[in-house]
Amino acid sequence: MKTSSKEKALWLLEQLVPGTGVNNLGLGLQVSGRLRPDALRAALAIVAGRFEVLRTVYRTAGADLVKEVVPAGEFAVEIEPLDLSGGSLEGDLTAFADRPFRFDGRPLVRVGFATHPDGDVLCVAVHHLVFDMVSVGLFLQAFIPVYDAVAAGRPVPAQATVPAPALAEPEPRPADLAYWREVLEGFQPGGLDLWCGTPRGRQPKLAGESASRALSAGAQQAVVQLQRAVRAPLGAVMLAAYAALLASHGAGPDLVVGSPVNVRGANTAAIGYHVNVVPIRIRVDLAEGFRALARQARDAFLGAMAHADTPVDELTGELAGIGTSWQTQLFRHLFNFLPQAPAVELSVDGMAARVLTVENPHSKFDLELVGSPSRAEVVFRYSETLARADVEAMLDRFDALLVAAAQDPDRPLGETAGWSDADRRITGRAHGTAAPTAHPTVLAAFRSWVARTPAAPAVIDGERTVSYRQLDATAAAVRALLADAGVRAGDTVAVAAPRGEAIAAVLGVWRAGAVCLPLDPGHDPSWLTRQLTHARVKAVLTGTGVQLPADDDLPPALPLADAPAPGPAAPEEAGEPTAPACLIHTCGEAGQPVATVLSHAGIADTVGHFAAELGVGPGSGVPALAAPATFDALFDVFLALSAGGHCVVVPDAARTDAAALRSAAGRHDVTVAVVPPGTPARILADLADQLPGLTVLADGDELSAGTAGRLLAAGCRLHCGYGTPQTTGWALSGRLDDPDEPPRGRPVANTRAYVAAPDGRELPIGLRGELRLAGTGLALSDPDDPAFPTDPRYGRHHRTGELARRRPDGTVEWLGRMDRQVATGDGPVDLGHVEAVLLGHPGVTAAAALAVPQPGGGDTVVAFAETPMPTPTSTDADAAADGPAAPGVPGQVVRLAELPRTPDGRPDRDALLAIARKALDQGTDQQDQAADDALVRDLVEIWGQLLTVEATAQTDFFASGGHSLLAAVLAQKIEELTGTSLELGEVFKHPTPTALAARLRA
């Protein structure tokens, strides 16, 4: 007999998780005394003989499933001993029921029996193909009277032997099919994933668990009110709330939720698989209220019920993008809200009996709401794609959603849906970052230390130590120089000077109330010219040995050496804390400078925060590791100078060369080190004996677990931070104690961080979304800059483009840039993670990973490792490729002595992309070269004579129709051609013309 689409769908699903009982149902019964095995056997034979469906067996036939009914006389179900040695009775029954059935003509019913001190136990496991939840009760109704009669020696009641043919399901009705087609038109199942749990991979995860909660009194009352207020039955209210919950967690908003419907119709006593899971499509608009959603849910629900007799599986293969695989299921969420069968007192053979729960340990759906009108409890059954904490939080949010909906059924759902009291409490606490600032500006903080510890070292530059007083005097001289040059508050002044000199210059600029533009004198002159022009710079302070491009249109250069000797100080401009303090340029796509403007207050807040977090104070040395012309370079310096510590100027080489760093650090009490983004934190590991007690701040995205582990093991205190170029360096930070923990932290003082959905709605605990930042550290921007929108709650804020989620402890975990998450054939890859692993390897001074689109769709990852010091063995980068977990392995790692860079010093991604494409093509080039070889050409000709396919240099003889007899002919022909006698084995080992040519030459 043929099987229906609905039966095949169950079978196909089972192929995804072979060897499990994913489709099995179990029924347990415990009596208060003893059951008789002989009577059980006889009663089962009678019941099985009566119900044709229980005697139906299935067989796989290639890609098809067929079934047949075994005649009553030939059908036997053995009663197996039930193993009750496990931890719990429920667990034992589950294990019994979960054993897979085979589709090889054997029964799909299994019966186990065991004696038990509390009373004997019977367990019946049945495959869903011949059974469903309703069948459980029907089976008991049929079985118990027969057993009672057999056990008592009475004749079996006549009605218990009336044959019950299997109930044939109706043929698919065209009207139903048309309805389903219309309802599902254009639906894409790809949008059904939630933003919590693990991202869906290729491998199905069907292990299931349940979590439940009693509805609060408020929610129970809300459900009653809502039925009246929105004129929808209880089921529709619950369905709408479920849909709103799913949508607020990222599914949809075009949602299809499955709902099981009993399709027995008038045949209420039919045992079998007579449930259809109908797809209910709901388009959730979170801008609308609950009332509108509930009406939509009600209509969709009723429509689905009216067409439930034709299973939607009939359309399998017809709906675009929807299939039976784990990734393409039509729905991933189930709504199972059914009236509960009334509990009846059972008795078997005069003994009291109770039905035992036999859980199926799988969940075919990501989430299933199980409830009943008569119970004030909601159960969420979930697959292991979700964590228990996620699901428990969702239960609380479901309760809260009902309460909020009843309070105002027309309030936009987006304002409340998806939030529980716990979510509000935790995020509210996490937002408490407001902190009074000790000094409104960095300049004020520095001057306070000039007053308190004038003789303390401020800058140590090689052999030269500059005290706070001396530095302040030089800054005053710079201020005088600027005043003489006509610089006024608000003007922009560029600083192009070696690090040691630049510090006083920046302080001087700020004393003039001007805005500082740090330049890197080592950058390309044309870039420097563009910077000076673009920023309308008033003057350039130049340090020792710095030559600027000669151009009459450029602002005047003011050599720092010309600063007048300390004398009567020029008046100091009291800069507003909110005023611009510095301007940082990055290189735009067309090579133009793109400016980021940071305020005094932002810098003061960030620097002040980290001085406290990292423990910087008098006596602390902070090495200036960051490249000039970056904000990080200012951060290093003022982290020390705003807290009474000293800045240790290290040579450029110290950023990549451990010896140089060690020498500088060892001599000058370096206690805190900030690893700027793009610099491998690994170099710190070479500080060896200087590491114990060193406090390190590093970019959490760039710090590999290996390097973190080594630094921690060496006795470092490790903090990881998150920052974007549009903020004052670092916006989040936290102590890292476990190298394998993902980076996470809390916002710095006077900064607030939240995680938002694409529509800007803040997301609760555990949901992945975009990290957004608000507070004083943000760059100043144009009002219409899309990277800095305004939110009613957070005001002006920055969209970072970073994927993040808030954890239950209130910290924010950052998960990599959203535009750097690449889908490859091996699964998702975070390019940032690949770079971090490469940077963790010795010899690698910079790394860049990028996605190269492939002709057939999808991307492959190519990573670049900058290794300026070629080592004889040169396997570092190759070893680096082994570092990341399997999906992170780049398709290719390319070693370069120097990465191509844009004028501002960042890796040039366009140039890298060109190199990457070339690297990927190289394999093909080599093959083409082989074809030019004369011997290979002759061999290709012989291949062509013997095979029926067109041969190339790479044609495998045996994969193209060759066999041992033909190989003998081949060997003989080659002998005639070359005079070399080849053994057949050689042909087998070298089956292509190219390979065999190489063998012949060897």
Partner: protein
């Protein structure tokens, strides 16, 4: 490393963990082999070394017992330094795979996983089918009468009452030599080429017949089997070499791909990633 004469290295061990592939790999064949599979598994198995059996230099006339092969593979070599985590068998190689896994389980105290690909047991019909295969491959080289004669003779051999597998294999190899002589002479190939081909065939027949002396049912019960559509077809048609194997197989994953591609198809890789952890 284990005995280098007995094993060829597909992937050098990066650790102390080994996967063994049991196959008759020397025959130039269209069927994908474990090298193809290792390539396809890529990073997933990169942590393990992957070795493949080399058949021992034994003649049919030596009448090797089943454990001759497993002894050859398992003697000598630094087995103690390695842990074999999985033993893979292709076709009749599965019979030996089971035996090897059981012996290693005793030695290393931990049973390797057994993974079988289209596991078959040897029977007389399997030997007979090799003659049919040869006639099919030689195509028009044989006249219809010659082909018919060969088929009939092969049927006679395996139909001989109470003939043993080894005796039958000896007779089948003789028949093969007889037919190859005709073919090689006709297409102008030397006798030494013929002898090479016959030796290869004999070696394969020896491999098949020795396997018939091993009972794989215990080892196969706990195995994972991956089978092709051709295999399912043979099973449906009642071919004993497959049907007798399926009776004792443990967990089985049936794939919709041909036997020749079983060790190179993406669906096999998926099945292994999903179901075979070690």
């Amino acid at each position: 490393m284990p005995n280098e004469n007995a094993w060829s290295v597909i992937t050098a061990p990066p650790s102390k963990s080994l996967i063994l592939g049991i196959d008759f790999p020397a025959a130039g064949r269209r069927e994908a082999g474990f090298e193809d599979l290792a390539g396809k598994m890529g990073a997933a198995w990169a942590g393990h070394g992957f070795l493949q059996t080399t058949p021992p230099p034994v003649r049919l006339a030596d009448r090797p017992a089943g454990d001759y092969y497993t002894d050859f593979w398992l003697r000598d070599g630094a087995w103690d330094e390695y842990e074999v985590v999985a033993v893979l068998g292709y076709c009749v190689g599965g019979v030996y795979a089971g035996e090897i896994a059981e012996r290693l389980a005793q030695r290393q105290g931990k049973a390797p996983k057994v993974i079988l690909f289209d596991a078959q047991v040897t029977d007389l019909q399997l030997l007979e089918s090799e003659i049919h295969k040869m006639i099919g491959l030689a195509g028009p080289v044989f006249s219809a009468d010659e082909a018919e004669h060969a088929r009939k003779r092969a049927a006679e051999i395996v139909g001989t009452p109470s003939i043993g597998l080894i005796e039958a294999a000896v007779d089948i190899v003789d028949l093969y030599r007889e037919m190859a002589s005709i073919a090689f002479q006709r297409i102008g190939l030397s006798d030494s080429r013929r002898d090479e081909v016959v030796r290869l065939f004999e070696s394969y027949m020896t491999w098949l017949s020795a396997a018939s002396q091993i009972d794989p049912s215990r080892a196969w019960g706990g195995s994972l089997s991956i089978t092709s559509s051709d295999y399912a077809e043979l099973e449906r048609s009642g071919a004993a070499t497959v049907v007798n194997a399926t009776k004792v197989l443990g967990r089985r994953i049936e794939l919709e791909i041909g036997h020749v591609d079983l060790l190179r198809d993406d669906s096999t890789v998926r099945a292994l990633l999903d179901s075979a952890e070690f």
